[in-house]
Symmetry: C3
Amino acid sequence: MRKILASAVGLAILLLYLAASFTSGVGSRPAQEVSLSSETGECLECHELYTPGIVADWRTSLHARTTPDAAMTKDSLARRVSAESVPEKLRGTAVGCYECHGLNPDAHKDGFEHEGYKISVVISPKDCATCHPQEEREYGGGKKAHALDNLRKNPVYDLLVEDATSVKHVSERCGIAAASATAASKGAACYACHGTEVGVEGMKTVEAYDGTEMQVPALTNWPNQGVGRINPDGALGACTACHPRHSFSIEVARKPYTCLQCHLNPDVPGWEVFRESKHGNILMSLQTEWEWKNVPWVPGSDFKAPSCAACHSSLLVNTDREVLAQRTHDFGARLYVRLFGVIYSHPQPTSGATHMIVNADGLPLATSFDGRPAAEYLIDGKEAEQRRQTLISVCRACHGTSWAQGHFQQLEAVIADTDAAVLAATRMMQYAWENGLADNKHPFDEALEKKWVAQWLFYANSVRYAAAMSGPDYAAFKNGWWHLTDTLQQMREAIKLKEGLKK
Amino acid sequence: MRKILASAVGLAILLLYLAASFTSGVGSRPAQEVSLSSETGECLECHELYTPGIVADWRTSLHARTTPDAAMTKDSLARRVSAESVPEKLRGTAVGCYECHGLNPDAHKDGFEHEGYKISVVISPKDCATCHPQEEREYGGGKKAHALDNLRKNPVYDLLVEDATSVKHVSERCGIAAASATAASKGAACYACHGTEVGVEGMKTVEAYDGTEMQVPALTNWPNQGVGRINPDGALGACTACHPRHSFSIEVARKPYTCLQCHLNPDVPGWEVFRESKHGNILMSLQTEWEWKNVPWVPGSDFKAPSCAACHSSLLVNTDREVLAQRTHDFGARLYVRLFGVIYSHPQPTSGATHMIVNADGLPLATSFDGRPAAEYLIDGKEAEQRRQTLISVCRACHGTSWAQGHFQQLEAVIADTDAAVLAATRMMQYAWENGLADNKHPFDEALEKKWVAQWLFYANSVRYAAAMSGPDYAAFKNGWWHLTDTLQQMREAIKLKEGLKK
Amino acid sequence: MRKILASAVGLAILLLYLAASFTSGVGSRPAQEVSLSSETGECLECHELYTPGIVADWRTSLHARTTPDAAMTKDSLARRVSAESVPEKLRGTAVGCYECHGLNPDAHKDGFEHEGYKISVVISPKDCATCHPQEEREYGGGKKAHALDNLRKNPVYDLLVEDATSVKHVSERCGIAAASATAASKGAACYACHGTEVGVEGMKTVEAYDGTEMQVPALTNWPNQGVGRINPDGALGACTACHPRHSFSIEVARKPYTCLQCHLNPDVPGWEVFRESKHGNILMSLQTEWEWKNVPWVPGSDFKAPSCAACHSSLLVNTDREVLAQRTHDFGARLYVRLFGVIYSHPQPTSGATHMIVNADGLPLATSFDGRPAAEYLIDGKEAEQRRQTLISVCRACHGTSWAQGHFQQLEAVIADTDAAVLAATRMMQYAWENGLADNKHPFDEALEKKWVAQWLFYANSVRYAAAMSGPDYAAFKNGWWHLTDTLQQMREAIKLKEGLKK
């Protein structure tokens, strides 16, 4: 009799648990509570009401549901804290408000006194490195961390940015004069992805939710979540660019919607090409049935088609837990060729700080104007082949060797064709410069020059992306081969008209 | 013993209920049946078979699962019927076929006798106002309800519509002559979103599903679901533009896929900018886990990132049920600046009937050709500041005050830059008109004029939308700053060629 | 007492079953195991580890969970094996690796010896026809199966392909010379959708997963999954273009993400127009709640808005299981008008091999240069009307007769307008050719000619698609009427400049 009762009670508990799982909302509290630090407890007392969205989001995070001590007991494949040791004070509680916003107070120009605590506003990769040092190291070595200086310290790129985003004034005689681009327009455009340099200009008074006044740091170029943000503590990058606050979800970062914030047509059409590929089709059709949070991640059983993260970043294992690809937060680390050509494709650079490159023309570009690579700043053939094999081994989880090899051979042939298409437009541009039909003192500002820029920055890149990820339309009609040919003919036509008028 | 049995039976019932919840399909009948009117019951007898999709969709609606009487017992925050009283006859039954299609028979030019009942085809906001008068009132005061007349009664806009959508004939000597645009092409293009004027031209015979003949009203400019549709009863608007028939789902209306039907690049790139924003990323990554039907709606616990509706329309409360923003069906009511510039940005108009505006040039546009606002038709600074604070209070559910303020400061600086970019192109256009290089009798029909139109209608708008919702690419390369500069240079080039030929 | 125990045990089993259903992952094994052939069992022994993604995907397929014998017991509406009989050897086991890759060994140029078995790499529609002959027959009669020859055997289309995808060389005097397009660039662009001709050039050595060497066929133009792929066994098409390997899911094929791989703007904007339509809105808002696998498929109760498949392919029945539309794998079979105009719209062709058409100009195009249809190759008015009624009967599951009729009347009026817009541009192009302003020896290669091509290939098509599926923006500003008018004005402007220079 007792057994029956026990069974019934057990069933009831199981039922209630199941019911709870189905009805638990987005912001529900975790099943197992972990203890909070007293500081975080105090933060929550006010912020639960004042910024309820932040708190609700954080409550669904792994940070809120585990402790560094518990996280460090995981085996090496499942472990997500890469630090060998974590400061004593942080180990036993959830990673809450104060655990992050109270870190490294002396390094933070944006630190301030808030309700008795010294906290800072902008958490940087250096702060996250307290528990995740390997991720910070990898990220810091890649192009993303250096994305701001790679634009503004490279005079060629900086000229492109300034020319595009500056307000122009038109004179009575119809001349065009450009003002300097404003911080706001650069911040909304190029620097929205590349990152701004966030500064601190003293303190300012804001009105809090309850109407009281409060002193907070007056930040400049803020808000910004670009991948190369330069933070008030001097650290490079923003982990929140891909792991949005305050759940810092691995699921969100693994979904293509994260990458698409910046990897968009016309210059880097990662998302659009993916979406029109077979991989994109399968992902969009079946994504709600997949396991997006498993670590390590198993192609086939966890997901049926790779998202961006699967090929470029995540730790992948096969069903026997043999590693197919190691995790990396340097998103260029698995790549051998850089599709993004300024102005031609080339082997990946060895350092993420591409503004340090010097090519045969003396410019910080990976190839010279006639296509010679700045070899000493780029990976060599051996490294390239090794990375190529890493990529192929990812493909082979779901494709035969012959398929995977064929794919890369096709890609390489298409890349060569697109480089030839860029060369053709470049020769035409040179003809115009040499014959006084355009002025190369500023190589990007005239209508004809902008057609030439579009040839390499939009159309050649699009065809290469399309070939790399098997998206058909971006190789054909949508910023693809159609445009490579059309633009060349348009340039020819414009040159003919200019020559005709000159006579 | 009896208790055990009772427990077991209770468990079984719970199980069956759970099982039923999981297996119930899209069109399943509701758990609690509410009674139907006899008229609706009769409708269903045939239409269950003849238009099964309509009936199945309606069955999943709240209309089918509750009664006005029950709906009116909800507390003020949860209540969705805004009428203080509902006609006696409608109170006690589900809101079925006849309850809507049988309303206001005398007002409906599209009314007709059908199987013994007088019903009408096109349900209008006036009909919906029987239970939802506040929604109809708010909607009727906004720009959407007036969207058709705002186009056709504004001669500037009407010229744009006619020039774009009319068939052209090319003469033997290569001249272009435009015919009048057809109702069909205007209806498929501009009026698809803005709405058509639906007319009734007598009755016509159609063959019903079972082969019998039937007399129905012969409607013109039909079908159409534009936001400013003028209905046969004279009422303005179509609730079904956002709440599609016949489930009239709040979930669908709250999802961005509804707004994207019309708010698309190149002129009003709301969807594309949202999609490439952090908000869009989070929504697309996690949307299937959110509570889309809760009223009121709680940021953080119901959803983690706002859809269009959250910022522009829905009733939002915090976790203490304190109101963050009141519901409104005037979708401009929370906005202080109108990004959509014809030809410059400006404060929001005070009335949704923008064709009534008269600016300094005597035209129905909110700014003059040189940028002076038609102030008496626009909200004043005090109202603007109040709306700005409403928006900030929505942001502050998930963002600190400093973040939210910084966002709007950046936006305002970018808006100023885009207005300057429009001014530059406008000065160039004026130069062309004044020097006989273009003819401003029709200001939109020549190739050069169309470049100028693109500058304000596509590119300046795109940059402003991008800055307003933090989507990077539409501020940069995708119809953004790149194009603002490129178009100006193209205009300069075209003017130079025309001048050169003239000499 | 025993009964109570039995009930409790029953409940527990039910609970465990429910729990199992909820926790079973993407690649979980089926609940009911069916027996595998010994050959397939042997395949799996290695491939479970070597290509785990393929095996995990296949395990979720219907092929893995049923046998042809069981499949053939279904009633005619639910049955998915269309063969009247299936070879004895295949009937009793799951459809595994060997059941497909071991088929028709003598027909396969890509057959090879692999671990003691003769298998082939590229499974063709002829192989699938073993169980699905009706699907193969329908598909083979349509345009998709002939998509490669329809391009390369039609000299007009072939010229377009070659001109667009070939590398150009620019001479010192700024002339343009085109090389032949490479197989790789054609394969990444046009042929990615249309299909390549897959060849076999002997055998090659690849390194298998475990490091051993292995001989496999050396395939050319591989990988490719275009709809008109010509396979090594000579069969036309790739079932995997829409049913991706190795789950061959009906759910994936029914979702619009499959069709969007190729039906994209600017030439055939099926996806973009659908997405901005009411149907697209409803599907994207509610798709996760729908029944995507039911056969037959019931509008209203299985889904609330049609995907591409619902209107163009799937077997649809009403709630009484009365057939609304028969299944077809000829995706043009329900259509009466061909929107895709080269250069005008026209009735659907009677045969999928459109390169066999001869028009009044002697060219393999469905209309002559001045718009006369090549009637003997196109369906007649009676067939057109019958197909129009089939489409309307699909609409009427959710729309009244008057609505559905009005829709098609509007569409037909818009089509007439777009054909007139193409005629206008064509007359202008003729003017340029006749007056020596362009050279029609190659009608597509000059800048002016490309504007003319864009008029019919991009803008007229877009407006027609938009009118057909009620997407507003592609009729208006996005490659729509705005562009039809703008392009005509740009052509006029270019002609004026050329004439001016000539004088």
